[in-house]
């Protein structure tokens, strides 16, 4: 009877040791899983940010070019005048 109890106790401890090993192994999986999800979210976040910047860029360039187009003639005239100005 005692031998049976000892054997059963050893079995209980072995099962517990196996459970501890499973728990520890699950950490790696959980961390890897969480990291994978984080990276995916990061990629999406950065992609959204870049897309927004591209949209802003196109808008800004259009504004900038329109303004520059309207003002180029005056700027050219001004620089030509300066280039042709002499000290005598």
């Amino acid at each position: 009877m005692l031998d049976d109890a000892e054997r059963r106790a050893e079995e209980i401890m072995r099962e517990a040791t196996e459970e501890v090993a499973r728990i520890n192994a699950r950490i790696e999986m959980d961390v890897a899983d969480a990291y994978g999800k984080m990276q995916e979210r990061m990629k999406q976040g950065v992609a959204v940010h870049k897309r927004k910047l591209d949209e802003d860029f196109s808008e800004e360039v259009a504004k900038l070019e329109n303004k520059a187009k309207e003002r180029t003639e005056a700027a050219v005239r001004y620089v030509v005048e300066q280039a042709l100005r002499t000290e005598v």
Partner: protein
Amino acid sequence: MSLSPGSEAIRRRILEEANSQAERILSEASSKAEEMVRVASENAEKTRRARIEEREALVKEKIERQMAEANVDYHRRLEEKKTEAVNRVFEEVATQLSAFTAEKGYSAFLFRLIVESGVKLGGGELLLQTNGQDRDRIQAATLRKAAKTIEEKAKQKTTLELSDDAGNFSGGVIASKLGGGVFVNNTLEERLKLMQQELTKEVEAMLHGE
């Protein structure tokens, strides 16, 4: 075989004791196992949280870096566009200055450039280099008039001589002291270069300012 009542009692007691010892062994093993799993679970949760937090910090840093790089790139591209617009102005100025050499007012401008260069050199015996077209265009009378004007302004007797070497520039003049290394570069290209150095900020403001 039957035991005596005394022996039977002893046997029962021994069995009861063995039973209770067996129960104790099992109970202790169960408690120990439960504790082992509980501690392992607690530690695992702490480790898991710490490692996830560590990864989160890494990912956050990476996101911030990538976004900052994207922002810098955005501003760099925008600046490039602004610079392109400014460069277009100076390209157009170069075209107009070059075209100006064929216009009526150019001769008078060239005269002023010669005088300005001569005055900067302080008068004296000066050599003038122009392009081939201007060399053929400048008359002796013009040179004498320019020399006289320089003389008056620089208070120094002045003679002007045209170099036989035609310069490779669209217009203007390079004046130098005869026999000396001092010279004034008053070509259209050089003037444009100076304008580009001096007026870029101003042109930027004219094009892109409020």
